[in-house]
Symmetry: D2
Subunit: 116 residues, 4 copies
Amino acid sequence: MANEPTDTAEPTEGSPAHDGHDHYWYHGDKAAITRRLKRIEGQIRGIQRMVDDDQYCIDILTQISASTKGLQAVALNLLEGHLAHCVAEAQTSGDPTAAEAKVKEASDAVARLLRT
Amino acid sequence: MANEPTDTAEPTEGSPAHDGHDHYWYHGDKAAITRRLKRIEGQIRGIQRMVDDDQYCIDILTQISASTKGLQAVALNLLEGHLAHCVAEAQTSGDPTAAEAKVKEASDAVARLLRT
Amino acid sequence: MANEPTDTAEPTEGSPAHDGHDHYWYHGDKAAITRRLKRIEGQIRGIQRMVDDDQYCIDILTQISASTKGLQAVALNLLEGHLAHCVAEAQTSGDPTAAEAKVKEASDAVARLLRT
Amino acid sequence: MANEPTDTAEPTEGSPAHDGHDHYWYHGDKAAITRRLKRIEGQIRGIQRMVDDDQYCIDILTQISASTKGLQAVALNLLEGHLAHCVAEAQTSGDPTAAEAKVKEASDAVARLLRT
């Protein structure tokens, strides 16, 4: 899982998309993440066709498990990059409150993933 | 685990795709299931746009959790119908081997859902 | 969701604890289920020792994952038996309301397992 | 979830338990973590009694879900502390390889939790 930092332009402070987050680390991974999401989108459409064609429920459940697994792989990829970049940046910033908030936020995101 | 696509809208009795399964119970729920899957498909496309727009990882993770939850709701809906129809049919058929196989198959499907 | 403890070893037919459920199917599996639960109990105690000995968090997390997996295996075992016995009994009883209630109950139990 | 760093003795370098990890952050939380694990251990013993007393499978499944949820809460607590201390320490150490390894390790631990 390569989360190599991007070498493309750092967005300027105050740009609309920026809002204080350094969330551009995944620029480099964008193509890969998008490819995976496109594949998952295709799987969801495939599941719709299976339902449409009255296919066997267990086979549909198997496909749903596969799509869920795919989504979790994307989530883990994003989480790893987030820890390596956004959380790391907060932790090296010398602002303990910001660092703590980032860790809490990441840990809450993991809690949401676990609860699904 | 045969997930072979069928291009027939309604396999005739005894057609290879039918293979003895009464998996048409969800005919009545089809519209609802399809609507939910369409919404999930839209969410996945939304996630692609979020990645494209360099949105904040944590927000993307939140959307992934929501899509996963949506997929699990569809899975639970299908499972409930499967137990109420396909498994019930096997259990009232008087063929204990068939009934046992159906229960094992449903329980394996739950195991796959849990492991994702 | 009645979890009332019963202190009788074997409730007599019609005793309040029996309440019409044929939940004795796992009598035969009891030794195996109990052995697994004892092993999990031992793992939990092992985790306590790891915390006590200041062991590395990641190693503790690995043990927690193993215990969770163990609990899910017990749950799947119980679920499979429940479908094969209690749900089947309701479905062959000729009482569609009872059968539907059992399926709903089993499916809700799966939902709770998925959400943990 | 208070993961306040401990002010108790930092273990000396080279102590047998140390092995290069700064995993003592949870010293301060130890009492709370241990209390939770003791409660989970009690729940597991309660489940054994439920099986022993032939209680209803669905009620047992409900208890298993509760124990699993308890274990996940402990895991999230440990993970949060781990990110706030061990991972942060690696990230501020100025050794990018060590930092990357810690992030990968944490993210793999989350993957294991998700897969259970």
